[in-house]
């Protein structure tokens, strides 16, 4: 793979910026020479066509949602309305300085306020903070809120967070960063929280529970009200991870299930393309007892005037440099307005229909450890398909059939897991083609295992050596090697 450092260079620096139009002394007269750079950073000077072709070539090595089915479980890789991209780039929204006087940014403050209101109603909770920049950041914010809540109540011994063993990895990490200890709760045979295991842990050291709804097996916790009631009765709080909100949009509200904090992944559910790993947005909604602790500033409205409100002395402070990922919020706002209630309900209906349709068909070929109605995703196992075949082999072979593989080896409670989330924007034909590919791979696993072991055959690269990348990390361009190569 050619990098930007491998192209022939030109003499650079011209054409982008005008000449200095004010009288000025040389830089070393303005700034003490000792503070100035003596070397030159090795940033190549390239022509515009060289750079344009380089990144166009790189883009062609990528697979995105516009290329086809992208069934990464728990990531909700749906098609996002193209118009939202245009709206997020409107100069009136994109070119606004965050420290501009609030009176001059009423348009942005208005939609942020309205978006918070809509999100609050989706969650069925009374207040929302838009600052968190990603789902995991929302989790962390929620854990900070838990900390402050118990600090204010003088219950600082509540330092344990309970987590089902099916939880996303970010949940335990977020709890730990916020200063909590993590206790794992086993799932029962149905893939849900084991109430006896929960009771055994509930005591005065428990701050609360983090639950993903529906959980990472794609299963709705049927006992969710009971779980929340028991945690609350024990003096704890409930955090619901909303990564999987796509499964119940327009049908149910976390606030009605007992949530004290709920985070949205706006980029998953409410239509921001994932950008190769961000930016996303992970706003949180909270229950009444936590409102005072929400980050500052908050957006207030008086009549038709919007302002930033800093005066919340019990707030945890800020979790973002400014107000969160505003331009991700634009897309979510536009999406909600465009879809309306009818559209939101249609989203979850087709998302769940698609998942169940695929689950029903694929369980004839692949083990389905939790065989029941699923929500927006389901988890198969690659184990036992054929001797010596791993889930990794299946995933890589899917690439040869033109599909992005599902999430693999997660959740941890399913061995050789394949976590499949087709999303609502996939048509029946696409689902059928994906199912056919999975069935052919199962056949190949028995008859031609080498096709799987050696996959992918039709990708820009063959299977990559991850062990080497971990053992002997090369994380920056090896300029010295190139120099030596030239000298040889």
């Amino acid at each position: 793979m050619r990098t930007i450092f491998d192209h022939p260079q030109r003499d650079g620096g011209d054409g982008l910026f005008p000449e200095l139009d004010v009288p000025a002394a040389g830089l070393d007269r303005l700034i003490d020479r000792a503070l100035l750079r003596s070397d030159r950073p090795r940033i190549p000077n390239l022509s515009e066509p060289t750079v344009a072709r380089h990144y166009t070539a790189l883009s062609k090595l990528n697979y995105g949602v516009d290329d086809g089915l992208y069934p990464l479980g728990s990531c909700t890789m749906k098609h996002n309305p193209k118009v939202n991209e245009d709206l997020s780039r409107l100069p009136g929204l994109a070119n606004v300085h965050p420290l501009a006087d609030p009176g001059l940014v009423q348009g942005t403050l208005a939609f942020l306020y309205e978006l918070s209101e809509l999100l609050g109603r989706i969650a069925g909770l009374p207040a929302v903070c838009l600052q968190p920049a990603a789902g995991a950041h929302g989790e962390l914010t929620g854990m900070f809120l838990f900390r402050r809540y118990f600090e204010e109540r003088g219950e600082e011994d509540r330092r344990r967070i309970l987590l089902p063993d099916s939880a996303h990895g970010t949940n335990p990490a977020s709890a730990a960063v916020a200063g909590f200890d993590v206790t794992e709760i086993a799932s029962n045979d149905a893939g849900m929280v084991d109430l006896d295991a929960l009771d055994a842990e509930l005591d005065e050291t428990v701050a609360g529970i983090m639950l993903t709804v529906p959980n990472t097996l794609g299963i709705f916790e049927e006992g969710i009200l009971e779980v929340a009631a028991r945690v609350h009765a024990a003096g704890g709080l409930c955090y619901f991870d909303g990564a999987n909100l796509n499964a119940f949009l327009g049908r149910a509200r976390p606030g009605d299930m007992g949530a004290d904090v709920f985070h949205y992944n706006l980029h998953k559910t409410l239509s921001t393309p994932h950008g190769g790993g961000g930016p996303g947005a992970g706003p949180v909604a909270v229950s009444e007892p936590l409102i005072d602790f929400l980050p500052v500033p908050r957006i207030d409205r008086e009549g038709s005037t919007y302002s930033l409100d800093w005066n919340h002395p019990r707030s945890i402070g800020s979790v973002h440099s400014f107000y969160g990922n505003v331009l991700v919020g634009v897309r979510a706002y536009a999406y909600l307005l465009q879809l309306g209630d009818e559209g939101l309900r249609a989203v979850s209906e087709d998302a769940v229909l698609n998942a169940n349709y695929l689950q029903e068909r694929l369980k004839r070929t692949y083990p389905l450890p939790y065989d029941r109605l699923c929500k927006h995703e389901f988890v198969l196992s690659g184990k036992g398909l054929a001797d010596g075949i791993s889930t990794l082999d299946i995933a890589k072979r899917l690439i040869d059939y033109g599909f992005h593989p599902p999430t693999i080896y997660f959740p941890l409670i399913v061995r050789e897991a394949l976590m499949i989330e087709p999303t609502e924007t996939e048509g029946k034909e696409g689902l059928d083609r994906f199912a056919e590919a999975m069935e052919r791979i199962a056949f190949e696993a028995r008859e031609h295992p080498e096709l799987l072991h050696e996959a992918p055959h039709r990708a820009p690269v063959r299977r990559l050596d991850q062990t080497r990348a971990a053992r002997d990390p090369v994380l920056t361009y090896p300029f010295d090697e190139r120099a030596e190569g030239r000298g040889a």
């Binding site: 516009d66 420290l99 009176g103 993590v182 400014f322 109605l373 299977r463 994380l475």
Partner: protein, 440 residues
């Protein structure tokens, strides 16, 4: 709904294949009490055309657009080369996700590898991650990392950090049980290290700092014992300023917005994070690494993943998952487009124009620069009379300027912070100085 491909016949057939007659059957597992308490938003669907009109109308209410921007404070009105937008608009980049399947993500992974290299070149460090959310969380993550390394429960922080960044740091440190000792500033605006406690895990400086003053980093490392030196930077300044790595910094963080990102009312942003090789295993965030494929050809994959939450769970170095990948791509394309020479040039334009304006303002009766230390593209002046009045008059005259309150956390009254980028023409600067002078 036009984003959904199924026909009614498809839906019926699919429902039948799973043995259901109605869509409601798909949601039978939601407890009845929950389903019954559901309340809709009360929104009717609207067309694409109507939504465009609605959001465009909202954007027109942002009257900050069209004012000449002299606000900085961590976010700057820099010029973005056209090519950046064109590359970012390729949907192969923007509709992909975290490169969990490297064979289908070589574009993203190669660009991440380039980004890491460019950040190291700018900062003078050994390794960089593929981005964090913003400059504030990047600094907070640096403090948490230093505490993992030194475990002293305390860090020393220059008072001259941007107050918004400091607020994020405070929140993370409170939760992490890390005490913050504040280091005052000298009349020059530089950080005063003379009363530095001996038992801190890290010393945190910002350069240029909240007053625009460039911190003299030479010799700092010797004065702070084995505490980690964390420096927060403005990346464009590093086109001309010596990188913190030259002075032994252990972690360099910063807000990457100046590198090709619009101001976006403060988000999305780009957290820069670079450190020394010895701390790689403690570094937060994703990294791309070079490896080979089964045929021995060079390729890229996520590396050093044993630090991360999806492997290490509660023992991970950070909870970060989704970060600012597309913003990092913007910064990568920006730097590739301007090159080392263009970066130097844009940095010189910033410094030259800022110094010109500072001189013009200092020549106006009643105005003076408050701090004597060297600066890059931002500086603070004392203004005669009420800063609030001046602020209002400048707004009315068509200038976007910092709110007077933004310097109160530093004990500064009647002060105005002014940022100048390459986008300000001489005419802008002269007129602005005249507006200041005329307002006495």
């Amino acid at each position: 709904m036009r984003y959904l491909p199924h026909s009614a016949a498809d839906r019926r057939a699919m429902l039948a294949s799973i043995g259901l007659s109605t869509v409601d059957g798909l949601f039978a597992d939601i407890p009845q009490a929950v389903a019954e308490s559901f309340r809709p938003l009360g929104l009717s669907p609207r067309s694409e055309q109507e939504i465009v009109a609605e959001v465009t109308r909202l954007s027109a209410r942002n009257t900050a657009i069209g004012k000449v921007c002299f606000v900085g404070g961590g976010i700057y009105d820099h010029y973005i080369p056209s090519l950046v937008h064109h590359v970012l608009s390729r949907s192969e980049f923007y509709t992909a996700y975290t490169p969990y399947q490297p064979e289908l993500s070589q574009g993203t992974l190669t660009a991440m590898f380039e980004f890491q290299t460019l950040v190291c070149e700018l900062t003078g460090m050994d390794v960089a991650n593929a981005s964090l959310y913003d400059g504030g969380t990047a600094l907070a993550e640096a403090a948490l990392m230093a505490e993992r390394v030194r475990s002293r429960g305390k860090i020393a922080v220059a008072r001259s950090l941007f107050s918004n960044v400091r607020r994020v740091l405070d929140t993370y440190c409170w939760a992490g049980g890390i005490e913050i000792v504040e280091l005052p500033y000298r009349p020059s605006g530089e950080c005063d290290l003379s009363d530095l406690p001996a038992d801190v895990s890290a010393v945190v400086l910002q350069s240029p700092n909240a007053f625009g003053v460039i911190e003299p980093l030479d010799g700092v490392k010797d004065r702070i014992g084995d505490a980690l030196l964390i420096v927060s930077v403005h990346p464009i300044s590093l086109g001309v300023l010596a990188p913190p790595g030259d002075f032994g910094a252990d972690v360099v963080v910063g807000e990457g917005q100046p590198l090709g990102l619009p101001m976006s009312f403060g988000g999305p942003l780009l957290g820069l994070f670079a450190t020394r090789g010895e701390y790689l295993r403690q570094m937060p965030g994703r990294v791309s690494g070079r490896t080979v494929d089964a045929d021995g050809n060079v390729g890229y994959t996520m590396a050093a993943q044993t630090r991360e939450q999806h492997i290490r769970r509660e023992r991970a170095t950070s909870n970060v998952c989704t970060n600012s990948a597309l913003c990092a791509l913007a910064a990568t394309v920006y730097l590739a487009t301007v090159g080392a020479d263009g970066l130097r040039r844009v940095a010189e334009l910033n410094a030259g124009k800022a110094h010109y304006l500072a001189d013009r303002i200092a020549a106006i009766d009643g105005f003076e620069r408050i701090f004597s230390g060297p600066f890059f593209n931002e500086f603070v002046v004392r203004v005669p009379g009420e800063a609030d009045d001046l602020h209002r008059r400048l707004l009315d005259a068509g200038y976007l300027v910092d709110s007077p309150g933004s310097l109160r956390p530093y004990g500064l009254e009647d002060a105005l912070r002014i940022a100048v980028t390459e986008k300000r023409t001489r005419e802008d600067l002269d007129r602005f100085a005249e507006a200041l002078g005329g307002s006495r």
